[in-house]
């Protein structure tokens, strides 16, 4: 399947292991990924807070570039998904507004067209709705038996349901669990799976931010998880990069690895953890790697 691939900013910045692992996993899912190298930041909620017309134009530009490829768009970031869906909702809701936004794209020869079958889906949604869990299961060569994985969605991909297509796909808030089980792991139930990682306020309300991250990590540990998995690199920054600091705010040891969704898929596809960038985490992934190596040997 051909997709217009929007990797987002963070996957090519502070979480390069996400971009790298997606490049390895994509072909194994028969994804032909046309990377949108000219597209711009989604605004991550901040530009929306600053100026709505600006953020709607920037994302309309990305959509227009994606539409030029003749394929639907795929992202690998919950925050991109939510921020872009918000703009798409406004662009699609009002013809006159969309026309106005398109006037800003005209000088570049771009235009966002509403409708048709064109969609913008996070890898997680694409896995379940387009690729299918059966096909995913076929590609698994190393089922992650016994690996206890705590799903962490990221707010932007679960709320508000009214904007995120939950009327058509009511189980989108269960997909991570489905994917974990499909690749052979055990999905761990815990309080934080659909809550906020705290990243948006890390520079403005650090205590609030890291108490959130710390609490969810602690809840996952208490539920006997081996690791977390997330489709959001911004969540990854707060849950992994900031984990040592978060431990101070919740006054306990944490030390639980956090995987990106493509990394977990890659492990099940038999890929080398190093190639998947699993050595590029702040919280070491050794125990997960050891468990997976034992599976391969068994």
């Amino acid at each position: 399947m051909k997709v217009a691939y929007w990797p987002g900013c963070v996957s090519r910045g502070f979480t390069p292991e996400l971009h790298g692992s997606m490049a390895l996993v994509g072909p194994r899912l028969d994804l032909e990924m046309v990377e949108l190298n000219r597209a711009n930041c989604c605004g991550a909620g901040v530009i929306a807070e600053h100026n709505q017309e600006l953020v709607d134009t920037l994302n309309a530009r990305t959509f227009a570039l994606a539409q030029q490829t003749g394929a639907s768009m795929m992202n690998i970031c919950s925050t991109c998904q939510g921020a872009q869906s918000e703009c798409q909702q406004r662009l699609d809701a009002d013809d006159a507004y969309r026309e106005h936004i398109n006037t800003h794209l005209e000088p570049e020869g771009l235009r966002y067209e509403k409708g048709g079958d064109w969609s913008n889906k996070n890898l997680l949604w694409l896995l379940v709705e387009e690729i299918g869990l059966d096909k995913l299961r076929e590609r698994v060569v190393r089922p992650l038996d016994g690996l206890r994985v705590a799903p962490f969605y990221g707010c932007y991909i679960v709320r508000p349901t009214g904007r995120l297509g939950y009327d058509r796909f009511p189980h989108r808030d269960k997909y991570l669990e489905h994917v974990i089980e499909t690749v052979g792991g055990t999905a761990v139930e815990y309080a934080g799976s659909h809550k906020c990682c705290g990243f948006p306020v890390i520079t403005m309300a650090k205590a609030t931010s890291l108490r959130q991250a710390g609490r969810h990590l602690a809840d996952a540990i208490d539920a006997d998880a081996d690791c977390l998995v997330t489709p959001c690199p911004l969540c990854h920054l707060n849950l992994d990069l900031q984990q040592p600091d978060a431990a101070k705010y919740v006054e306990r040891d944490l030390n639980i690895p956090v995987l990106h969704l493509p990394q977990m898929l890659g492990l099940a596809f038999g890929l080398d953890p190093k190639e998947l960038g699993m050595d590029k985490h702040v919280v070491k992934t050794r125990d997960v790697q050891r468990k997976v190596a034992e599976l391969a040997a068994a």
Binding site: I47, A205, L241, D279, K280
Partner: protein
Amino acid sequence: MRVNGKSALACNTQLGDALARAPGGEIVVEPMGNMPVLKDLIVDMDAVHWKKIQRVVPWLLPEGEPPEREYIVEPEAMIDITQSMACIQCGVCVSACLSMEVDPEFIGPAALAKAYRFVGDPRDAHTEDRLSDLAEDPHGIYDCTHCFACIEVCPKDVAPMNQIMRLRRHATGDYGIKDRNNGYGHEKAFVDIIERYGTLHESQLLPRSYGQGSLIRSQVEPRALKQLIESLPTAVAGLRSGKVSPKAALIHHKLPDQEQIRRIYHEIETGDGERLELNLYIVGEEGEGGAAEQDPSTGDGSEASTVPGEAGTERGGAEQ
């Protein structure tokens, strides 16, 4: 209360729907979150919800002698705040708030939506004081973690988080309030970085946020420098893990056609304080009747007619 773990108004929750979502086929009801339980399902709303509502001075503060009769306001001037006025003070958003869960002192979604009801009211004369107060409070508008929980549960579509974002927009965009929480700095840093590079240059975001948008200020202002030094261990951990290379931290590629991003910025950010906002709560989506009625294509062809009807948009800033 909370139904199957989700904050909701019991009176508009259908049993059938609740049963369909009940894990194990049993509906679980619990008292509201973020408030002390008095007994069974009864919580102390006075201690949390109403106290926070009082905190934002929930009444009009006009200036000068009151008019002989009522204040005369153009209906159009009130449209912007109709969404926040729809609040019925049920407290469901407070129950669901994920910031309040870790910071009980957070002013919270209901009270901040109420605050916007007065900030956006043209009769109120203390707009800047209100905004400054809420921006400087460490538990104010910059303590909202943007999680959409309040938007999801509100039975009246008040979208409290969106009202909080409007408060931020007015505080930074219209009044330039440089708060001590880095709210102004964070927004300015982020928006400026995208104008310059097109994608996010993360290693500049933190220092620029601490320096009210400026890289230089972040290294000379004592308060910014202190915050920068405090974040050094995290930066070092990032570098040591190999996820962040020194080169990637220092050099960030511009988009091949970055001048297009700049052009878009300049077209939209004209500096006249005007902002176009399409509020779907007011105009509705296509098929609901609202948007179609707003179609300005039959208008007079002036600049204003290329955007949806004024009723559905906020032209912020100019009215202040």
